[in-house]
């Protein structure tokens, strides 16, 4: 029984830590599928987390917080778009810039406005997205295994968690079953063909980065307004880059992206749970190795040792209309 409890706890933690990864990963999916590389996911999440927590703290509403988070993340996404779509700047450079601007300004503004060493005030329960108990979770709690899975792993998360997982089929539907999605994928592979068909490459790519902004804003909201009760300096701690790694791991497809995020989330949850404890069969694994594993796996995957990750063909290149 103890073993099952442990597994349930571990999986529950996996779901929790996977959610920001998943939202950020899907965010990156829209942008990168349209041909705009975005290593600024981290910065947009961080800015979103700060704006969300600050707004929720001042106005006492989680919903306003989510709106503010999305607004600021969309703003940063538009800056990225302005630099890389309109001015044909280097997309990597622009993403790096956004990461730094977000990292610096969240601390400076947080300290100036709230004076708690870069934190935002702790949020009360009614200013957060709280866990939702799904119908029947209490009744089923005592049923072995299935009841536990339902009541502990599936039930009891906040609205944003369910939203994040619903975004997976939704994103799949948008990308592969709508006209917008077809064009979005086309513009990431061959923008000239899309242009020839009379569709604006610029406007299409701008819409893609706006989607990225909305989702990274939600990722930030989840971290600061649901998972934690406020913003802490540098709270994303590289999650934006893990999300990027997951995106590559999933070869830019929504459903594998979910599994990649769950895998990386599981590694994280496992590392926290088994910190310094000897694991059966493996022995004592250094916690640093567990932490580095997502990055190592990504490097190995990118090198083509486990299948090949082929990015959208026009990714990273600005589109110059022929004159």
């Amino acid at each position: 029984m103890d073993f099952i409890n442990l597994i349930v706890q571990l999986l529950d933690a996996t779901v929790r830590v996977s959610v920001p990864l998943l939202l950020a990963c899907l965010a990156g999916l829209y942008s990168e599928r349209s041909g705009i590389f975005d290593i600024g996911l981290e910065g947009k999440m961080l800015a979103g987390a700060f704006a969300g927590a600050a707004t929720a703290a001042v106005y006492g509403s989680a919903w306003l917080g989510a709106l503010a988070a999305m607004a600021i993340a969309v703003f940063l996404a538009l800056v990225h778009g302005f630099a890389s779509i309109t001015h044909r700047g280097n997309q990597i450079v622009s993403g790096v810039a956004i990461n730094f601007i977000a990292a610096g300004s969240t601390v400076i503004l947080g300290q100036a406005w709230f004076r708690q060493g870069g934190r935002t005030p702790s949020l009360s329960a009614d200013a957060r997205f709280n866990p939702i108990t799904l119908p029947g979770a209490e009744a089923l709690r005592d049923v072995p295994v299935i009841g536990q899975i339902y009541s502990d792993i599936i039930s009891g998360h906040s609205l944003l968690v369910y939203l994040a997982f619903l975004m997976v089929p939704f994103t799949w539907w948008v990308l592969f079953r709508t006209r917008f999605g077809l064009r979005l994928r086309a513009v990431g592979e061959n923008p000239a063909a899309v242009d020839t068909a009379g569709i604006s490459v610029t406007w299409l790519r701008y819409r893609a980065v706006i989607c990225t902004g909305v989702l990274t804003g939600l990722a930030g909201t989840y971290m600061a307004v649901s998972q934690n009760a406020g913003f802490v300096k540098d709270m994303t701690a590289g999650k934006g880059f893990i999300a990027l790694a997951a995106l590559i791991f999933a070869k830019w497809r929504p459903v594998p992206a979910m599994f990649a995020c769950l895998l990386f989330g599981f590694l994280d949850a496992f590392a926290i749970r088994f910190q310094g404890i000897a694991v059966p069969l493996i022995g004592k694994v250094p916690v640093q190795l567990m932490q580095a594993l997502p990055y190592i796996l990504t490097v190995v995957l990118l090198a083509g040792f486990i299948g090949r990750a082929i990015p959208p063909k026009a990714g990273g290149a600005a589109y110059v209309k022929e004159r």
């Binding site: 890389s84 730094f100 090198a303």
Partner: protein, 379 residues
């Protein structure tokens, strides 16, 4: 790289446009200061006073600048090859391992002037190898160098934490750092250099690696513009296709360039580890690897631009500390914002003001537009 923009006279291309970009970046930073509720002009005054107002201030400014020259050169060398090495942070971090291993082994045996070259080799070798792997993966397996170098930053951080809380930590200590090196692994300070100009000061961390950084700046210039390898690097950066057509071994150039870049980033570790703290500490790089990106972009990847850009960022680091004494709301993190803004305006948005500048110059001096960039000084 075909730019969709017409040519400008050299002075505008290499002087005016970077200057405008920089000014805009600082104006936006000033807006942030206003938003915090302080006066940007007063902040700028404090910054200058803190950085250059005293000999000690200058010492600290140049100490920080030393690190940024190394990392800036590292990023610039890779830029010339068309590679974006974001891994400077990680390469400098593991470079510290090379310095520490040399110092811990020989600090009681040799004097500093033997240990210094050994430590340079150690830092360059480990930094170079750490960058070589992403380079090799790019050249042979086609993995994107930006992503791999980012991943290697995280792997380096994990590796160094593992070593510093484990093998490198003295048994009787709790702090995650090595033991303090003996006298034989302390680099000479350069206080006398400042005292020569008549200032008597308390000790600053400015040390001999500053001279090494300047030597490296000259060496990088010679490498890129005066050697065959440099020519091949620039050719690869300008057009990989042309390089292949000219019979240049592309894979070799990519790997070698990344090794040089990583070696330069690794040498950054000499400055804090051997020059100032005399022990290997957790997170001793403190973002210098990332500042290198801003420095290289601002200096347009030329050593003659990188050294002043590094001094500017050294000034921001040192002067920033001064500002936060008087204005507690403006902490070190302000520099991170400025860094981001410089990268944004001097890097990603470098072409933003070009059409306007073009129009103005064309209307003022129609003849200037027909001249190519100034001859000889190809930057």
């Amino acid at each position: 790289m075909s730019t969709p923009y017409a040519k400008l006279p050299g002075w505008a291309d290499y002087g005016l446009i970077p200057f405008i970009n920089l000014v805009v970046a600082f104006l936006v930073a000033g807006l942030v200061v206003l938003l915090v509720g302080e006066s940007p002009i007063q902040a700028a005054g404090l910054l200058l006073k803190g950085a250059f107002g005293s000999a000690a201030g200058i010492g600290y400014t140049l100490y920080y600048a030393t690190s940024f020259i190394f990392t800036g050169l590292a990023v610039a060398v890779a830029f010339h090859c068309g590679l974006f090495n974001i891994g400077g942070e990680g390469q400098a971090y593991v470079g510290g391992l090379g310095v520490a291993l040399v110092c811990l082994t020989f600090d009681g045996i040799f004097p500093w002037w033997i240990n210094f070259p050994l430590a340079i080799l150690g830092a360059a070798a480990i930094g170079g190898i750490w960058a070589m792997i992403p380079g090799w993966l790019q050249a042979k397996r086609g993995s994107h160098i930006v992503i791999t170098t980012i991943m290697f930053n995280f792997i380096a951080a994990s590796l160094m934490v593992y070593l510093l809380v484990g093998a490198l930590k003295p048994a009787n200590s709790m702090a995650p750092q090595t033991r303090t090196f003996a006298e034989g692994a302390h680099l000479p300070k350069l206080d006398w250099l400042l005292e020569m100009f008549g200032a008597s000061i308390r000790s600053t961390p400015l040390n001999l690696s500053f001279v090494l950084a300047l030597v490296m700046a000259v060496a990088v210039w010679a490498l890129i513009w005066r050697t065959r390898l440099g020519y091949e690097i620039r050719t690869r950066g300008f057009s990989p296709k042309a390089a292949r057509y000219a019979g240049i071994n592309e894979a070799r150039i990519v790997v070698v360039t990344m090794m040089i870049s990583g070696a330069l980033a690794g040498m950054m570790a000499l400055n804090p580890v051997m020059g100032d703290q005399h022990r290997l500490q957790l997170d001793f790089v403190t973002g210098a690897g990332f500042v290198g990106i801003a420095v290289a972009l601002m200096g347009r990847s030329h050593p003659a631009g990188i050294v002043p850009a590094a001094v500017l960022f050294g000034m921001l680091y040192q002067g920033g500390a001064e500002i936060s004494f008087v204005m507690p709301d403006i902490s070190r993190d302000m520099i991170v914002i400025i860094q981001g803004l410089v990268i944004l305006f001097a890097g990603a948005l470098e072409h933003m003001f070009r059409p306007a500048v073009q129009t103005i110059i064309a209307s003022l001096r129609p003849s200037a537009m027909r001249l190519g960039p100034a001859k000889g000084e190809g930057v």
